[in-house]
Symmetry: D2
Subunit: 345 residues, 4 copies
């Protein structure tokens, strides 16, 4: 029997991409698609790529109906929404939140960076951080998955093998990331106005971006010690894609060849993480797909590991990884509905 | 038993896109991928989106082996190649040529526009023009399909209903088309150098583009009378997508509503042609997919039908339509391996 | 003594570009820069390219002060604004309106296309249509210049020589135009959101765009007879630039060589219109400059003149031409502050 | 009497940009423009923005004539060219080399990174490193200026105040840079093919780029001690612009406010370096201009200074700075021909 899935926040890019992927999932039927300000519009008018694939109308959010009609609920909304609604849902459904409300095990970290109290702190222990390749067991049994941010997904997949392996000194880690504009969402603003961004590159939220503590939480989990990260994201003139370049001070000697071998071992059984030895990651190789391409170079002159990852921020960086997590939670093959190559060029 | 398929010219964009689509085709196995100057390279190095999908190496073209090992052979090469090799293949395999060698029923037209003699004119009668929606019966039984050019596919899907319906005066038809740069192929040249094309738009081959006679041939077939077309393509700063805007002088009265209804009737049973009534076509809605979106507006002030179509030049405008034609030829469901929505945004 | 100039609507792209050009004008001082919603902000915060060039603050609009302190006032606002304020200004200052309020000699045309009554119809006889190359004498003595729309500037500079020369049949003219996104202004909207427009092309306002009657007015003036135009603009993924492709049915024989010679004669003395014989126009050649590049090809098979023009929509298509008109009005060399090449690449 | 200037390598982007700037220089006449493979072509055909500005033809390089006819010679060629020709020129002319041959005081560094012997090592003592704001006195009296690379210009203008001020620990400096594609030159290649780069971002020459030793040389000069730099450039889908993000480990406490004040002091008298306090650099603010915008943020959590700079790689990063250096060498006002704002948007 098909799994009934609802998307809360279907009009944004995360929601649109969930719909695209789930409409091709053989074990799923879409139950409710909510979109407050666009309620009542055909989903295929909001996402014209979906014409001929769905006649569904968006609705306003009726939590009771959604709880009753759904086996899995995806949240694709900014922070603050899921933590209010999830308590009414979890008795009945499982939840995957693409927002940050359930990413932190410590509510104080959340409150410090998001500047609001966490309104469901007691649910955090039922939540798993959804970096699939590193948290599969917890995800499988979790009621709630806090799906990782786009930047942390890229940065962590590149960095964790070296941090886990004990090669990295805990201080002085730098993550410099470059993102396409779709990561900023679908809301119109001067900052995402075409003419302002095209032929332009700029840093933003320098060392104060909310994805920093998420990266730090996972580094600490896997390194066994706290590690501060200087994280600077940049907006570049493209729609999809993130490239993260992480600079890790070496704590013990490592060559590029050994570092590459470590990546290859770590991800040997992983379909969605592709390790490049002779090439460097580029976002176009992952365009529209759930793949993350990683590579590493060691700057031996300066004792720095340069770990790089490329992915599609809307797929592996958001909705694709969310579907991957759903597959894990429900015991489906992990690549169901996700095993397509990206578009090149 | 799986159908054995070879691609001649696998390193170009048409070949790469064929590989992407065929690797997802449940009834197909890839036999040979040829790429003269890149022979011996892993296909996944040439097309990094295909990493984890194929370990195939490209080869140089050995016609005999290809003939022996293939049920279907795709040509994805410039004009002049297929007509030399197809005679050795057709006794053994069926052929779909993404180039122009088998698009024209009259070799003189070919010779006039391509400035070379046709070296297999006797095979033309075995060839069908592969505009799937209009030539299905012939394609099914053809040994050779001349897959349409990207511009003609867009222009014809927009225009033919009005020409067939007798609404259009035969003289004075204008087709103004805008194409992404991937249509120019993968060969590096100053004219397709990033810095020369970005933030730039320009016409090229004004009224002398080789896709004009192809449009005219099909208009004549479906109108029952010769019709000259003034065709002007433009290069715009994007990778994928064609938008064709056709201006057809009205021969008898027509309203936008009636024109839209005519489109809807014509394409009622067609999965891959989506008729828009209230919206206008945009290439992004078709990005990476085999769909062609069409719409029409009548300028009653001037007696002009404005028929518009958007598609992905590498999919419905080339490799997708080629796979669609293969499905027709082999009796598979026509949408096999093609029923995915595009990426938006 | 310096000419005192004010800009009403300085925060939009037209206003920002006026400021950029006028800050380099040796005979001008800026008096007031108005920007209602941004009043009080440094102009160099709104336009960071102007840092180190001006410390001016934007203000809200005080018509009396502006009238007292200005010799020339530019309006860079949507339709409906200038016609309310100009009556208070013209006794004291000369006015150049980048909006449409003073472009039409017949207020009924304005009302039909802009769906509002013209509230200063009596001033229209004091206004000149500011297509500099064709209306220099009237511009010189006008109190008010209705600066042409970006599309009409391109289309008319390409077409008028053939219309004036009597080569064109009055019916069946088609203008297909492609514009960068800055033409849509600086207001944030989904339709100009980066991720929606990048890798996308779409038509809009098909055959109902308000620049059509402006083109028709000038064709009628220069042809001596009414001529309807089917005008379809398209949005393409770049910031600056318009390419207009005009299709004119020939009324009498003409070759490409003769058509090119006619362009060369017509624009022999014009600095800002460059006639290309062997090349085709591309917007990049005009990027950031006041030049318009034109070329022509005759499709003799179909009896169609294809007249093409490329320009920067914010310069020759708006603010540059406005400064050119100011130079004409004040008796300055016409190229003052405008004689710079564009950027390439 | 006008200064006679020649450009060796006029067909590349550096040469084209030099021509654009020098054609607007009131004290300069162009003597020779060389372009081996394009010799004999009108410069305005190679650079269509220059139509109406010059009728000059490109020539092949005749060193004797150039020496005789020129007061200043610009080289805009890859490494290895200038060091062969400059010995014949310097007795007669002054030289500004946009390539790397005269950037290094130590020929061994050059040889180590460029893998060729330096063929004019004795001339290096006559050469000044042309980072204008830091080397004005030497530039004024130099026969030869080694104009800085585009990345070093951005990185050094951002970093030097903190290095000079003694705030930075010498180890562990990271420079992560993002460049538009014009920095890769005008030569057509798959790596700069539009369809491969658009909607794509990728690192290249990771920790082995030749601009690293140039940055290190200047850090050492101004810090008084050797400092290794981990330098990673990235190619992003735009034509012009570089953003450099430098991560400097703090050696002593510093706040963002104090760091910004230090930038402001350092660049108080500099027209072309604009210090941003409340905003962050973005390349668009410098587009087509000779400005470099810098800003700083201190990540006090991790003890890292984040120094950022944006500039146009073809202007302040190459040809603009070269003209600025020429102005210094010849005693002209430093901003002659360079005092224009960039284009925004």
């Amino acid at each position: 029997m098909a799994v009934r899935v609802s998307i809360i926040g279907a009009s944004g890019y995360g929601g649109g991409e969930l719909a695209r992927l789930l409409l091709g999932h053989p074990e799923v039927v879409l139950a409710h698609l909510t979109a407050e300000s666009k309620a009542g519009e055909p989903m295929a008018d909001l996402y014209p790529n979906l014409r001929a694939f769905t006649a569904a109308l968006t609705e306003s959010t009726d939590v009771e109906r959604i709880a009753r009609d759904s086996d899995v609920v995806f949240f694709a909304l900014p922070n603050g929404n899921a933590m209010d609604l999830v308590p009414s849902l979890v008795p009945h459904t499982r939840v995957i939140d693409l927002g940050p409300d359930f990413r932190f095990s410590d509510p104080l970290i959340y409150e410090q960076w998001y500047k609001v109290s966490h309104r469901s702190p007691d649910l955090l222990e039922h939540a798993a951080y959804g970096l699939t390749e590193y948290r599969r067991a917890e995800i499988r049994r979790a009621d709630i998955v806090g799906n990782p941010g786009c930047y942390p997904t890229a940065a962590l997949l590149a960095m964790l093998p070296f941090v886990q392996g004990g090669f990295v000194r805990p201080g002085g880690i730098v993550v410099d990331a470059k993102s396409g504009v779709s990561g900023a969402g679908r809301g119109a603003a001067l900052a995402t106005h075409f003419s302002e961004l095209n032929e332009n590159v700029k840093p933003y939220n320098v060392a104060v971006h909310r994805h920093a503590p998420e990266i730090e939480q996972e580094l600490a989990v896997h390194a066994g010690t706290a590690a501060a990260v200087t994280f600077v994201p940049h907006l570049i003139p493209m729609t999809r894609g993130i490239l993260a370049t992480a600079y890790l001070p070496l704590g013990k000697p490592l060559t590029t060849a050994a570092a590459t071998a470590l990546l290859q071992e770590t991800y040997a059984g992983e379909l969605f993480v592709r390790v490049l030895a002779d090439a460097l990651p580029q976002t176009k190789a992952t365009y529209g797909s759930n793949f993350c391409d990683v590579a590493v170079r060691v700057d031996e002159r300066n004792g720095v590991v340069i770990a790089m990852a490329a992915l599609d921020n809307l797929v592996k960086g958001a909705s694709g990884q969310a579907v991957q997590n759903m597959n894990v939670m429900l015991g489906f093959p992990e690549d169901l509905a996700l095993r397509q190559p990206g578009l090149y060029p």
